[in-house]
Symmetry: C2
């Protein structure tokens, strides 16, 4: 008998029918002899509807009140889910984030979990009941005000609660079958990845794979909590996200997947005087404006002019603020001009096996070149290579890279996971 934390997102509980289906699924797990704790998001469009109401009464609603408002969403879904479970003859009890002991910082809209003290959840489990916990919300340690955790909050709640309860697994239910080697909408031959490490999943998440949020994977890694990402529509195995994968490392896949991201923009600062500290001044100004920089490339200085170009990428929705920030310091730094390009795409190749396999970079670049695509920027980490290309070229380049690493073979799991398949 295991202790399983199951998290269901908004699309899994979009209406009464979906809620009843999810209830059935939870009861199936319970009947199999496991203890189940459920974390649930707000129903489908509830959050958007509440935001719309807020906008109607105030152009700039205060964070404390916005959090109070939005947390009504999970309150509704969790109570309905508990009712649906009770209707199937099993005891269920819903708990707000506060009641479940999710203690956070005071930053409304983007609070971080400080601690989880799930005393009431443990009691409910001991009573044979199924606790249904509101995702995405908590209570601030200092002011005892209701907080929300921001993007990826419900997944993070689930993992944090699983860790605090020392659960055996945290199952994240979604509307796809798991994590794929590439976005199946772009690469129809993309395959489900049966098992992936936290590190790889972190790189995937950071590089545009939307299935799990960075924060939740980081939390899982810190507490070594296995995550099982799976579909709420089937009983199939999904993707296990865990620590190091057992078995001979040589038998691990070289590449786990190809991620892409169209949400970034590129800014080039042209003609920066090549003096010590000028680059630092630029990035200090951007950091002060709370802009997250992703990739940075500085060209070799042309000795004749004593000037250099610095390019960097950032979320496209920070573009305007970044450009304004830089214009303000143009005179002081003395650069020539700014260039802005939001027609870029980032393609990332991720795989723990990269460490022990030289030649990955060359094969990746060859693949991209083979479909006539120009690489504008490059960054690498131990287990990732990312390149920036023209946004129009993203689909073809992703497909080419996927093919080049044999990811879209029919027997992809057997080929890539040679060791585990035998």
């Amino acid at each position: 008998m295991a202790l399983v934390v199951q998290k269901y997102g908004g699309s899994s509980v979009a209406d009464a029918e979906s809620i009843k289906r999810v209830a059935q699924r939870i009861v199936t797990t319970k009947k199999a002899g496991h203890s189940v704790v459920v974390v649930v998001s707000a129903m489908g469009d509830t959050t958007d509807e509440l935001l719309d109401l807020a906008e109607q009464v105030s152009p700039l609603p205060p964070g404390r009140e916005l959090d109070m408002l939005l947390t009504a969403g999970e309150r509704i879904s969790m109570a309905l889910l508990a009712m649906a479970i009770e209707n199937l003859g099993h005891e269920a009890r819903s708990f707000t984030g506060s009641q479940a002991g999710v203690i956070t910082t005071s930053l409304h809209g983007a609070a971080r979990i400080i601690d989880v003290t799930p005393g009431r959840i443990s009691t409910a489990i001991d009573d044979g009941s199924i606790p249904i916990v509101a995702g995405f919300q908590g209570v601030s340690q200092d002011s005892k005000d209701i907080t929300t955790l921001g993007r990826g909050g419900s997944d993070t709640t689930a993992v944090a609660l699983a860790a605090a309860l020392e659960a055996d697994v945290c199952e994240i239910y979604t509307d796809v079958d798991g994590v794929f080697t590439a976005d199946p909408r772009i690469v129809p031959a993309a395959r489900r990845i049966p098992r992936i490490t936290y590190e790889e999943m972190l790189e995937m998440a950071a590089c545009g794979a939307k299935i799990l949020h960075l924060r939740c994977v980081e939390y899982a890694r810190r507490y070594n909590m296995p995550i099982h990402v799976r579909s709420s529509f089937t009983m199939k195995e999904g993707t296990w996200v865990t620590g190091s994968i057992e078995g001979n490392e040589m038998e691990q896949p070289i590449i786990s997947g190809v991620a892409h991201d169209r949400s970034e923009a590129k800014i080039t600062v042209v003609g920066v005087p090549d003096r010590v500290g000028e680059a630092a001044a630029i990035f200090t100004a951007l950091s002060d404006a709370e802009i997250n920089i992703d990739m940075i490339v500085q060209n070799v200085s042309a000795a004749a002019t004593g000037r250099t170009d610095i390019s960097f990428t950032l979320p496209a929705n920070s573009g305007q603020v970044a450009m304004a920030t830089l214009k303000k310091i143009q005179e002081k730094i003395g650069f020539d001009s700014l260039r802005y390009d939001d027609q870029i795409g980032k393609i990332s190749l991720i795989g723990a096996g990269m460490r022990s396999h030289p030649g990955v970079t060359a094969r990746f670049f060859d693949a991209i070149a083979s479909v006539g695509t120009n690489i504008e920027m490059i960054t690498t980490s131990e287990i990732r290579i990312s390149v920036i290309v023209n946004q129009d070229r993203v689909d073809e380049a992703v497909a080419a890279a996927h093919r080049a690493f044999d990811l879209d073979s029919e027997q992809v799991e057997a080929v890539v996971y040679g060791g585990t398949g035998r």
Copy 2:
């Protein structure tokens, strides 16, 4: 500078526009130099929509979860109202019933307030902020579960909070101008009552006047908290509900108002053996079935038969259960038959001045007879006379009684409140 608790019902905060209007009104009170604490109900149809969702997932939702679900309603309205106030440049903070210290019994759906410990509300007031408190809800003392107070719950929250904060007045905002001498839909000449005692208001509420719930008036009487019932659409004075009214009692109105109620039914138990304890057996059975009995009339026993008829009234929606309960004990008690009539109406004449004015009963009965209406049952209290008539006759009989006691004079306030008008 006064401390004012204002309660706004669901129709006052039905949509974003209404919420902004209420916010404006609250700020006006604040600007006048008063401290304001607001109690708010769920927006217009929210509760019905949530109940509808509950019905879709479970035919018989558990009380704990239904309370968790329904309390989402006030969470939404209170957060939106706080936002709207902040948007007008005044600080506001919303609080759930639990956060506001509303401690209740554990009876989900109909919890009673045991205590109010409004520490956070007091702090907010001291900080110059406007606390917005969710009506209708609290937290159970034993299990720390979220509870709802049932019918009249938001008004009761407001009065209880006002009492705990030692406020100067509890203003109950509604969509009419106050308490009227009769239902203006039936008696167009009905007038607003400027001032009424708790006792009279209790009788009015018990006899079908829907404007204030019995519970809330009882609470106000216990703590001697003045209630000011007024319209949220105008700045006019409404009706003050207080303890004894100042001035010479002879100058009080004889009759405060005429209330009516069409929601009751009458059951007659025909041919009950006239033995000691038979009536008790009947009402014990009904009480065990949790049926509230209102009026009871027992005919004089016909000596020849040794049998008597017992009639009583009860809420019509308890009718089926009551009939079934009585049928079960028919054989044991040995009564002849049961008669059920839900086509009845109750008309009540209420006034503290009745005590010192004989002849009220006769004038009341005359008025009803004058419009050709037959009286089926009668009960009286110190400050009330109620009669049961055929439901079709209610409107005419109410109008006749209203006229007979000079309530629909043009100068009704001057006439009835002779003392205060001069």
